[in-house]
Symmetry: C2
Subunit: 136 residues, 2 copies
């Protein structure tokens, strides 16, 4: 897409610190990392997010994650990592071109992700049933 | 694995609110959701995380994400979602059986994920080079 930041990075119209690429995906450093070495993986063919990515893009994006994550951890002495995808502006997606975040982590670095609170009594069964109804 | 919480859920030894399953994966509600409808997708065959998952598990886990996420958003009137995987205790992984989080979101719900700060001058090039060296 003409005005897409990540398409411009893919097409070398905007510079980036590239880490890895193949026919279908490009991995480069996020310029606003949660920790140094935070990488973004994007499909070379534009899509907005996970809902319009298609099977081929999804496989192409997930397959290099362990390879790239291992390299980041070895290079910069990290202990773990978060994989994350923000889908939609309500979820914090800023650039509307699908991107997988690999965020390297050390214990006690201050990031607390994905921890919630229990359901109220009887609520979880109702929520599950509503979702299952959409899948049948 | 005998003592694995999610293996016990897969094997129906511990109850869960199941949302979706196929031959390779099971999706069920996280009992401590960041928002109601927060779903975990796990491979039926045990692995600890993304690094030991293998190609087949990775594809099997990523493929149903759009299907399940659409169902959650339609069922519970959400606007977006985060996909997340905590890999290693340093990254907040509590149960050592690989699980993909699908976390439905509304604008302004108070969750702020994956936003960092810029590198210092000259730092990003050095970080990129260190990672690339691990991949060659």
């Amino acid at each position: 897409m003409n005005d897409c930041l990540f398409c411009k990075i893919v097409n070398n119209e905007i510079p980036s610190q590239k880490i890895f690429e193949n026919e279908k995906i490009l991995a480069f450093l996020d310029i606003n990392p949660i920790n140094p070495g935070h990488v973004l993986i994007v499909p070379k063919k534009h899509c907005n997010g996970l809902l319009d990515a298609g099977e081929e893009n999804l496989n192409a994006l997930i397959q290099p994650v362990p390879i790239i994550a291992k390299a980041i951890m070895s290079a910069l002495d990290y202990e773990g990592f978060n994989l994350g995808v923000n889908n939609g502006s309500a979820a914090g997606q800023i650039v509307p071109h699908l991107h997988f975040h690999i965020m390297p982590r050390r214990a006690g670095d201050g990031h607390h992700l994905f921890h919630g609170a229990p359901y109220q009594l009887g609520e979880i069964e109702k929520v599950a049933e509503k979702i299952r109804q959409q899948l049948t």
